[in-house]
């Protein structure tokens, strides 16, 4: 039984992430009065990309060949460590010490993402293309500033929940009175800004742009093709879904099941998580349809706001 759950946790995030991307695109299309592609289109795009041939620049080194696998693997690892519909750490039946629990520590998650960004930036520069280079440098600036907001918002949650592990946090937060959770609203604002920055969403970056000079994330994966491109795109979708799940499960933890035993509990939990994620995804799509992207010099101000909001949330939570 545990093995099945283990495999389930491993596969659930990669399986559902293209759906998340598809949902955002569908909402945006509807807001622009178009019908838009089906929500399952990203699956078809990935399938198509996996079939295609790859062209790799002669100047690319081993980093270019290696990074997509590493990046994708990191997203699978993190996806397996976070609570999706149940906040339970699972391990293999025959190897109980092999569990994803250690990877659920929020600092580990943040630094795994940082590792991912590092290799992403390197592979962007690796082919020697100018666009990849400046995409990498912009990505480094954004990531460096966003990390502060991300860190402090999660730190505020951690302090309130008195635990460092994301899985345990969800459990603890459910039992706290509402009053202790209110300062987390401010942390939530900080986290959302960090989410938008890390996932290359508005108002920091436009994921659908085709103008190279406005790209950040897209610029770094410009030179990829075929299955490596598929892995990069998939990894980006995974990252978005991970952030969304963290946002809904940490800041609004009610309803997340605490065990895999009760079927009705799991059903309620699934519905709630899907509902909350859908609201958040809708919110992102709404933001993208109504707001203009910030010019790059305004992005540090935004990220600093996220940082300060995170510290304020931390200060308020500590005194409780």
């Amino acid at each position: 039984m545990n093995t099945l759950l283990f495999i389930f946790q491993l596969l659930i995030v990669p399986a559902l992430s293209p759906l998340g991307i598809g949902f955002i695109r569908k909402v945006k299309a509807r807001m622009q009065n178009r019908v838009g592609a089906s929500v399952f289109q990203p699956y078809r795009d990935l399938w198509k990309l996996f079939q295609k041939d790859e062209v790799i620049s002669e100047d690319a080194s081993w980093i270019f060949r290696f990074s997509p696998y590493l990046i994708f693997a990191i997203t699978i690892l993190i996806g397996a460590s976070i609570p999706v519909i149940a906040a339970v750490p699972v391990a293999l039946d025959f190897l109980p010490s092999f569990s994803f629990l250690p990877a659920g520590d929020f600092l580990v998650i943040i630094y795994l993402f940082a590792l991912m960004t590092f290799f992403l930036a390197l592979s962007g520069m690796d082919t020697g293309s100018a666009f990849g280079g400046f995409g990498s440098s912009r990505e480094m600036m954004v990531a460096a500033l966003a990390e502060a907001g991300l860190l402090f918002s999660l730190l505020a949650v951690s302090v309130t929940a008195e635990s460092g592990n994301v899985v345990a946090m969800v459990g603890n937060l459910q039992y706290l009175p509402l009053q202790a959770l209110f300062p987390l609203l401010i942390a939530f604002l900080a986290f959302i800004i960090a989410l938008l920055a890390e996932n290359a969403r508005f108002p920091v970056d436009n994921p659908a742009t085709h103008l190279e000079l406005t790209m950040i994330h897209e610029a770094m994966i410009l030179e990829h093709s075929g299955k490596r491109l598929a892995l990069m795109e998939w990894a980006a979708a995974n990252k978005l879904l991970i952030f969304i799940l963290l946002a809904v499960n940490l800041f609004f933890p009610w309803g997340v099941s605490l065990s895999y035993d009760s079927f009705s509990g799991l059903l309620v939990s699934t519905l709630l998580v899907v509902g909350k994620s859908a609201i958040l995804l809708f919110g992102i799509a709404f933001l993208e349809s109504t707001m203009a992207k910030f010019r790059i010099f305004r992005v540090p101000d935004l990220l600093l706001t996220s940082f300060v909001l995170g510290v304020i949330a931390l200060a308020i939570s500590i005194t409780f």
Binding site: L185, D301, V308, A315, I316
Partner: protein
């Protein structure tokens, strides 16, 4: 949903707090009005709910009055004023955004520090709300100092008054209806006079940018 009403009140306090932070960061006067509306809404709802919970009819009426005047009449009045002078934009700060944020952070830490811990004797169970309210007061004062536009400064005073009313309700002060009405009446007259001045200033200086008012330099 809320176990005690204290949690609901704290939630409203938080909303007002976030509104004041927002007032520092937005760039257009219309958005400042919206945030003021949000803050007044939370104050009015708070007064109304306290009246409901404690069975004080006078507070109910005060809450309604606050809601009507500060959340409905005042923002409409201001919006019309802005439209008349086309001053919807350009609400700039003296300090840059990062420095502003840093000062806001310092103010929050200051109000949560041990300096103001003695105020806890006023209402021991609501220390968190008191600290939050105090932080809102300081941030509203900073808004007054930091903003360049006369209009934003006016909203700063009104936001400060909201924050003080909020803080007063958390330290458990019960005022007779006459006094509360007196204070609200004062604020209404203040708004009337301030808008008259803003119109005068706009007519004379053609702009509401206070840093351009240099006639009073020692010369």
């Amino acid at each position: 949903m809320f176990e005690h009403f204290a949690q609901f009140f704290f939630f409203l306090d938080l909303i007002a707090f976030i509104a004041v932070i927002g007032m520092h960061l937005v760039k257009s006067n219309t958005n400042i009005i919206r945030l003021y509306f949000l803050q007044s809404l939370s104050v009015g709802v708070l007064l109304f709910s306290v009246g409901l919970v404690e069975g004080e009819h006078s507070l109910l009426w005060i809450g309604v009055l606050t809601l009507v005047i500060k959340s409905i009449v005042a923002p409409i009045f201001f919006a019309r004023l802005l439209r008349r002078f086309s001053a919807q934009q350009s609400a700039n700060n003296y300090l840059s955004v990062p420095l502003t944020l840093f000062v806001l952070l310092l103010l929050v830490l200051f109000s949560y520090s041990n300096t103001f811990l003695p105020l806890g004797v006023l209402a021991p169970e609501a220390l968190g709300s008191i600290s939050l309210g105090l932080a809102s007061v300081f941030m509203a004062i900073f808004l007054l100092i930091n903003r360049r536009g006369a209009f934003s400064q006016m909203i700063g005073i009104l936001a400060l008054e909201n924050a003080i009313v909020l803080l007063a309700s958390f330290i458990g002060l019960e005022q007779p209806i006459a006094l509360e009405v007196g204070i609200i009446f004062d604020i209404v007259i203040w708004i009337v006079i301030a808008t008259a001045f803003i119109s005068m200033m706009y007519r004379q200086f053609k702009s509401l940018d206070v840093s351009r008012l240099t006639h009073l330099r020692e010369d």
